[in-house]
């Protein structure tokens, strides 16, 4: 029992370290930037974690990733945490009951989740306030970020899958 708890704690400590590293990478101004568009590494990681872990674990990881994104975000503090929580729980439930944990499915889910996040941000941060020419923000920034996040989602997918399998093997050993 203690060993299982130790394995459990170690695994989530590794996830925590990965989150901090991704947070650091995500906040580097010019890193991975293409024409000013940067991927949401923490979002992709949270979605991958939601695919392999339970919906609650995925939700909690989503909250932490969202809170990290909220640090320095132009949005209201907690907005990302809420979106990440809802999306990760939803994906966790889908994977648990409806779809398999494949790369393609993960990429599709990441794309849908990223688009949902982009639309939510577009509506609540820009459109709702009646700014002019807000469509440019959606097409020129939010949607490219969603596509870019989907494009790099394979990396956190394989990373989380490797950690998940490794600790599953240790737990079952």
């Amino acid at each position: 029992m203690i060993r299982r708890r130790l394995i459990f704690a170690t695994k989530y400590a590794v996830y925590g370290v990965i989150m901090i590293v991704l947070f650091a990478l995500q906040n580097v101004p010019s890193l991975l930037s293409i024409s000013g568009v940067k991927p949401q590494l923490l979002f992709a990681f949270a979605l991958a974690a939601a695919v392999f872990e339970s919906e609650i674990a995925g939700g909690i990881i989503g909250i932490f990733c969202g809170l990290l994104c909220d640090v320095g975000s132009h949005m209201l503090f907690g907005t990302n945490a809420l979106i990440f929580l809802v999306v990760c729980v939803g994906i966790g439930l889908l994977v648990r009951g409806l779809i398999r944990q494949t790369l393609i499915n993960t990429l599709i889910l990441t794309l849908l989740a990223s688009l949902l996040r982009a639309v939510l941000e577009y509506y609540f941060v820009y459109r709702m306030w009646g700014y002019e020419e807000v469509g440019v923000m959606l097409t020129g920034h939010l949607l490219p970020v969603a596509y870019y996040t989907t494009a790099i989602a394979a990396i956190p997918y394989f990373l989380v899958r490797a950690i998940h399998r490794r600790y599953a093997a240790l737990r079952d050993w």
């Binding site: 901090i20 947070f23 650091a24 990478l25 906040n27 580097v28 101004p29 010019s30 890193l31 339970s54 919906e55 609650i56 939700g59 909690i60 909250i63 969202g66 809170l67 990290l68 909220d70 640090v71 320095g72 209201l76 503090f77 907690g78 907005t79 945490a81 809420l82 929580l85 809802v86 729980v89 439930l93 009951g97």
Partner: protein
């Protein structure tokens, strides 16, 4: 699915939603002020962001340098070519400037001395060991130069050609003790012979010998060539610094400061012909001119008279620059 909504998992998720929503509401209610959670997270993550940014900046700087190294190399080559081109232009400019100065001096001299035939030359070498500042010019017999041709600048007499090649010539300056120049003071018309001495050459001066005891020459007087022989008349030699008696007391001498800059001269004119050229050159090819010979004759006559009157007086000095 219905089981899920009744399970503890669902309750936990709802609890999480409520907590996050509360965090949001609290943040919204704080009116822009950081909440405890955001402050705590910000405090924890600030060093991470600072560190990552620093690493990123260094990496970006390094990668940018690496990525631009080809461009920098090409730019470097381009700038090198531009520098070479500019240097070539600078050489052309300096050459044109020097030629312009030469031609200006040449025109000035030509207007003053219509009988002179000049050859403009550049100083191409100097003997650093020569204390009399001899130098080499870039013209020789192919350009019509001859041995003993006077060498001048617009300021005054510089020297004569002492050694002649086909494409070069060596010039000894008026500081050289081997060169004697018949000269006179244009204010008092006192004549003498200018030549260099080793001691005065160190100071850039030359000596004008055989000034009579009753000479009125004084400091500041202009000394010019008296003409005849190898030098045309009225070439400026220099100005008197001081007039002193000779050791013998029979005559006086003056220390002359050359008018031309003998040490730094870069462009000169060689007078290849002038009226009266070569009218008086002694047998041993030493350089004397008419006025000196006239003076020497007068001195010899005076000595004869003196010795006839006073047989014991044998202190009359021999002229230093004898032929």
């Amino acid at each position: 699915m219905q089981d899920f909504f009744k399970s503890w998992r669902f309750r936990v998720i709802v609890a999480l939603l409520v907590v996050v929503a509360a965090v949001m509401l609290h943040a919204a209610a704080s009116g822009g002020m950081g909440t405890f959670l955001s402050n705590a997270l910000g405090t924890v993550t600030a060093p991470i962001m600072r560190f990552s940014t620093r690493i990123s900046d260094s990496a970006t700087q390094f990668l940018t340098r690496m990525a631009n190294i080809g461009t920098v190399y090409e730019q470097n080559e381009l700038y090198r070519e531009q520098i070479n081109e500019l240097n070539r232009q600078l050489v052309d400019y300096e050459t044109a400037k020097r030629e312009n100065e030469q031609y200006r001096d040449f025109l000035d001299l030509k207007e003053k001395n219509t009988d002179f035939t000049f050859e403009a030359c550049a100083v191409i070498g100097r003997d650093p060991e020569d204390r009399f500042h001899s130098f080499i010019i870039d013209a020789g017999s192919l350009r019509g130069l001859e041995l003993n041709d006077p060498v001048i600048t617009a300021d005054g007499l510089v020297g004569v050609i002492a050694e002649l090649g086909t494409t070069y010539a060596k010039v000894i300056t008026i500081l050289d003790p081997g060169l004697n120049i018949g000269s006179y003071d244009i204010r008092t018309a006192d004549t003498g012979v200018c030549n260099g001495t080793i001691a005065l050459a160190e100071q850039g001066l030359l000596k004008m010998k055989y000034l009579p005891r009753e000479t009125g020459a004084s400091a500041g007087d202009l000394i010019v060539t008296s003409g005849g022989g190898i030098f045309p008349r009225d070439l400026i030699i220099g100005t008197i610094e001081v007039v002193l008696p000779e050791d013998s007391g029979v005559s006086y001498y003056a220390e002359i400061r050359p008018q031309a800059d003998l040490i730094n001269v870069k462009n000169v004119f060689v007078i290849t012909s002038f009226e009266g050229q070569g009218s008086m050159i002694d047998d041993e090819n030493l350089l004397l001119d008419q006025s000196y010979l006239e003076w020497a004759r007068e001195q010899a006559a005076a000595r004869e008279e003196s010795s006839a009157g006073d047989p014991e007086d044998g202190s009359e000095p021999e002229p230093e620059a004898s032929s």
